[in-house]
């Protein structure tokens, strides 16, 4: 059986994330609002790791990556609070993206 190709995207949040579980639920809800029900299943987004209090890694499907970047650009509030997300870079494996973060090479590198 073919495995789904995935993409890992480093995202920086404007606000610090204090509760990761609650934040993930709110982020998915905000993505649902901007991407729509018909598209969200394609994105299949999941926060796989928090790098620090502002940066985290989101796993998505390869075909959904573009939609994810656009959806994150359109989010302006989460739970009534002002929010902004900046996509810093992406990679095909979590190891590669972690290496890039350590080297500080996450800037728009694909």
């Amino acid at each position: 059986m073919m495995r789904d190709k995935r993409r890992y995207v480093v995202v920086e949040s404007y606000n610090a994330v204090d509760n990761p579980d609650l934040f993930q639920r709110r982020l998915i809800a905000a993505l649902l609002q901007v991407a729509g029900e018909a598209n969200l299943f394609r994105l299949n987004p999941k926060i796989v790791k928090f790098v620090d209090e502002r940066r985290f890694i989101v796993r998505t499907s390869l075909e959904g990556m573009r939609q994810l970047v656009l959806a994150l650009s359109f989010i302006t509030s989460i739970d009534g609070k002002e929010a902004a997300f900046y996509t810093l870079g992406s990679s095909g494996t979590i190891l590669a993206i972690e290496k890039k973060i350590k080297k500080g090479q996450t800037s728009a590198s694909r």
């Binding site: 656009l70 650009s73 996509t87 728009a108």
Partner: protein
């Protein structure tokens, strides 16, 4: 990392943050690049300025006076203005911060108008550049996001990347 962006001083963005977003340099309005709001400032002599506004005759006069780039705030096509821009080699600046300032139907309408404007500019062979023109850090975008937004409104990947290099 050769991309540049134009932001307003109210963003308070440092070089580290700019590098994380993928920019070589953030050009600060009023400091690194002069931005002239043609609707407020009646002086149409805009040599070496980036001009923003809605008033088409004034925008056209600014293009004739030697403006570097023109950002049409209402995204409406004016054939006469576009013809002058082509003749004077004035770039068309598409700024994406407006997409973060609006939402819902307004955002969809803006995206539609932007795509029409871009299509018309490409057809007329006017150079197009992209920037966030953010007034707040909340409205800033990374290079990756600007490229995807440019592609969303109909730019080719290479043209989107080139459009981010044009400024500065």
């Amino acid at each position: 990392m050769e991309f540049n962006d134009i932001v307003y001083p109210t963003c308070n963005a440092d070089a580290d943050f700019a590098a994380r977003l993928g920019f070589k340099r953030l050009l600060v309005a009023g400091k690194d690049v002069e931005i002239r709001d043609i609707d407020r400032d009646k002086n149409t002599n805009a040599k070496d300025c980036v001009v923003i506004g809605v008033n088409k005759p004034r925008l056209e006069a600014a293009a004739k006076s030697g403006a570097i780039a023109i950002s049409i705030t209402d995204q409406r096509i004016d054939r006469k203005l576009m013809q002058t821009m082509k003749e004077r080699e004035t770039k068309l600046l598409i700024s994406f911060a407006v997409l973060k300032e609006t939402g819902g139907n307004d955002r969809q309408r803006t995206l539609y108008m932007m795509s029409k404007l871009l299509r018309h500019a490409v057809k007329m062979r006017i150079e197009v550049c992209f920037a966030s023109m953010a007034r707040s850090r909340l409205h800033m975008l990374s290079t990756m996001q600007i490229i995807e937004l440019a592609k969303l409104i109909g730019a080719e990947e290479d043209a989107a990347r080139k459009g981010l290099k044009q400024i500065g």
